[in-house]
Symmetry: C2
Subunit: 568 residues, 2 copies
């Protein structure tokens, strides 16, 4: 059951759901023609199917390990990394001035998703690199850019993000790592960082850490945080690596999944670092990096979901069990069919949402329009949380389709769930995403939400003549979502919004998914896309109403029991 990257699906979405032609009319992305796009997708697909997918199992069975202070990666990962780096896939969207390809984010998102489905553990390495490249492009000095960007883009060096400390997870402002100026433009960094993805390894000659730290006398909380780049080896001016810096790998975590991805505890002892952006300006720079990483993590969920679907589908077509008037394999059974269609329909919905987010980022980049920026900001938490929820749910269904074979590790069905489970946690838990959506992303008084709902309803109106029932269902769902959005906006006490934040985000995603399914059905009337859309609207959309009902309750019932009663 080999993995096959969903190349054609991306092409369809670019042309029929995203209005890629509008993107190609911008000066910045004029060269991303349909031919170019398709050639790139197809080339990436080959890399995923032939080079990366075969590494996934090895990463699980032979985890990265720490030996005498050196991290050794899983068998074959060095060849996989080389193929990713040499193909130019790390710097797809990076600035051509430093060796990047300058391609739109919709393409990078598509390729990242494909790679995640092939081998999630390894794909985390280029994803972290892309985040660092983007942060440096936006916030670093020209010297730092000239020194680091070509190396990160070529894959000679890799990048990491260092936010979390034992006492500072979701609450980044509680971090204690210290930075002190040396007087020569460099800083000394000391402290401990945990959960550092690809924090150390043997795939590249240098590992560059973006580290959040606090200068002496900095204010408390997030306002007092500055960002530094701290390389494992201090680079010489010519780009060769110099002496070892004061950062050591204390340990690697023993995790439920993504065993091939080394998750490190790093200790900094007077490590030399260089400031990125202004002093106390670390959070703004970090948010640049995190927003795109969040979209990337959403894509990880979708990629694993795609792989888990293909895997379960192949098993269901092959496994004979019982008889039904519809056939002799388990795929003929109604409940198995329901599971398989749920997987496929949800992958479609999550993918369309993630690519729409990427499209908004591209249009912002190409036009500088603040409306596109606000749209990207609104879509980001939805793409992250829903993409990863779909990843987990679809991987879980995949196990169920396999029956007893799903619980036995040899089939690989369980690995998908074990690997993807973390995506709902890292880069901001899905709860944090939902709080971001109902608070920060609604500081505009609900304007962006309303604009998106207008589009959904315009789409439904336009579909009414051809697909009246489906169009009506989508329109109605959008109206219910609008009423609940108005209710949320009316709550000044943010805790009332937070009490329903997760179900609200999931409902928004459900309704967006229905919108995109309807658009796909319009483009393929009577064809498989219309049939899949009908399934989605029939069976997956209805939960939005139940979820939204719970959003409008507010906080009171959550605090009625005190903690002693709850834990009794």
């Amino acid at each position: 059951m080999p993995y096959r990257a969903a190349v054609d699906e991306f092409s369809f979405m670019f042309d029929h759901l995203l209005d890629a032609p509008a993107l190609r009319k911008t000066e910045k992305f004029a060269e991303a023609t349909s031919d170019v796009t398709n050639a790139i997708l197809s080339e990436a697909g080959k890399l995923c199917d032939e080079v990366l997918a075969p590494l996934q199992r090895a990463g699980d069975l032979h985890p990265a390990r720490l030996e005498n202070g050196v991290v050794r990666t899983s068998p074959g990962f060095d060849e996989g990394w080389k193929a990713i780096a040499e193909g130019g896939w790390i710097g797809m969207s990076a600035d051509p001035e430093y060796g990047g390809m300058g391609l739109p984010m919709i393409l990078t998102s598509a390729v990242n998703e494909m790679m995640s489905g092939a081998c999630l553990s390894l794909q985390l390495a280029p994803l972290m690199g892309q985040g660092q490249i983007e942060a440096l492009e936006h916030h670093a000095s020209d010297e730092i850019k000239a020194l680091y960007l070509p190396k990160l883009i070529s894959g000679e060096w890799t990048g990491t993000m260092n936010l979390t400390e034992p006492q500072a997870g979701s609450d980044v402002g509680a971090l204690k790592t210290k930075a002190e100026a040396n007087g020569d433009g460099t800083y000394n960094i000391s402290g401990q960082k945990i959960y550092i993805t690809w924090g150390d390894h043997d795939l590249a000659e240098n590992v560059c850490h973006l580290v959040l730290a606090r200068l002496p006398d900095a204010p408390e909380g997030t306002k007092g945080i500055s960002l530094f780049i701290v390389p494992k080896f201090v680079p010489n001016e010519d780009g060769s690596v110099g002496p070892r810096n004061g950062v050591t790998t204390v340990s690697l975590e023993h995790k439920m999944g993504i065993h091939g991805s080394p998750t490190a505890v790093l200790q900094y002892e007077n490590a030399r670092g260089w400031l990125i952006g202004p002093e106390q300006g670390g959070m703004a720079a970090m948010f640049t990096m995190m927003n795109n990483a969040r979209l990337g993590v959403g894509g990880q969920g979708i990629g694993v979901a795609e792989a888990a679907f293909q895997h379960a589908m192949a098993y269901a077509l092959e496994r004979k069990q019982g008889k039904s008037i519809h056939g002799f394999t388990i795929a003929a059974h109604a409940d198995v069919r329901r599971m398989l269609m749920t997987m496929k329909a949800d992958v479609f919905a999550a993918r369309a949402i993630a690519l729409s987010c990427a499209m908004a980022i591209d249009m912002e980049e190409a036009t500088g329009d603040a409306g596109w920026a606000a749209r990207a900001a609104f879509f980001t938490p939805i793409a992250k949380a829903f993409g990863t929820e779909v990843g987990i749910r679809v991987a879980d269904i995949g196990i169920q389709v396999h029956g007893g074979m799903g619980f036995v590790e040899e089939t690989g069905a369980a690995q998908f769930l074990r690997d993807v489970r973390v995506t709902a946690i890292y880069e901001g838990t899905n709860g944090i995403q939902a709080m971001d959506l109902v608070a920060r992303k609604m500081m505009d008084g609900g304007e962006m939400a309303s604009r998106i709902l207008d589009e959904i309803e315009e789409g439904a109106e336009a579909a009414r003549a051809d697909l009246p029932e489906m169009a009506e269902a989508v329109w109605q769902a959008s109206e219910t979502l609008r009423e609940t959005t108005d209710w949320l906006i009316s709550r000044d006490d943010l805790t009332d919004r937070f009490a329903g934040a997760v179900p609200y985000l999931n409902s928004f995603a459900r309704v967006l998914g229905a919108h995109f399914h309807l658009q796909a059905a319009m483009a393929d009337q009577g064809g498989p896309r219309e049939k899949l859309a009908r399934f989605y609207v029939n069976r997956l959309l209805p939960e939005h109403a139940a979820l939204l009902e719970t959003v409008r309750i507010g906080q009171d019932d959550l605090y009625a029991m005190d903690l002693d009663e709850l834990s009794a």
Copy 2:
């Protein structure tokens, strides 16, 4: 964060939800007074908290292994098994004539659930034994009973169930294992069986297999199946173990979880077996065993959910992160509170359903009333599927509450999910349970469903004066369920029922859960149970409407896409 078995919760449910006093009025269970019951629960709680819970992690880290044909169990499991056996916990409900305690199933279910939360891998051993004891009590000859039951009840020997073969899983009728009469009352059994839980081990001196096999010229399918007992060592008449029988352990599975439970592939080569029940009567005997095992597996889900809740609750009370007007630990945050209350409210609902099923079994046993038998049969698939769904969902939420620590194996949060995942698969997948509910359990034209809904509505009417809103919500939900039940019954084509079987079962459980929460709220007005019930009715009950909407669709949209389109 030590595990504490939910002793008081069972006492509350016995007295306030289940009408245990009615059970005590029967001759059979007259001795199970409130004092006796509480003493037993408290004794079992001590065993779970002090002896079994400390074994759970060792089972995960040091899986059972096959060495030179011998299965070695995890460290400490021998002491745990001894404590279970010597406490008499295996034969709690077994016939006192053979050493059992003759206690009602509500108590056995409670204790099994407690043990599952403490150490699921080990608890599977007594659960398998109980199934075998029950099958032998109902179907074996007096000689077999006299020889085997005392040994199984004392824990000197253990029991297994052998149904599955590589080509025969959910479709048991496809099995090929052969049985040939030897002419002396014994049979020769040959074939391969897979997924045999505790199929071999070093905890007891004998392992007794109940094996489904086919006699020469037996009809195809389930009608041609006979049941045999095949011991690892052939017993002498005095009960000592004699020569090794022709069954060997080929391998153990490498599984996602329950590493401490050896899951064996067993090869039978002319192994001596004894017929249980009549020739070709194997399925009926097996169903006796399976029904109670199904209830037991539901309890496993609930037990793990209880443990995962306690674990997450303790973490949430301890972990400081950010600040909120409600406090400084993460338990103060609205979304974490929502997760914790979901866990607690769902554990309550699933437990009440499982115990109601056990109560029906007891009343059937005590009164011989066919109505109780039908009620137990109706509740069994719901208790199994919902209990295990809750187990998986709650364990998954538990990981999320832990944030990054949830994905790191050291905390144990991930193990709950990895362990409990199998419960939705074995003893009949949850899809099979749902098909059983909408087909076999509705061959009465929906009479039992209707009777249960009548009770729910009577309960709601009685609560209307005190808790009007909650009562109305429960009454309305029951009516929606009734309409959908009528729709299901009206479909002659079973595939239309199967298309919505899983959401129907889950809705039934949701509504039953609301009913029991309402009863608990009535018994504790203004207290924590009313507050928890309000949360459940507010936030968990509403999904029933969305689920039931999908049930009434039927099969058509599932088969609109052909398999080529679905797998494209």
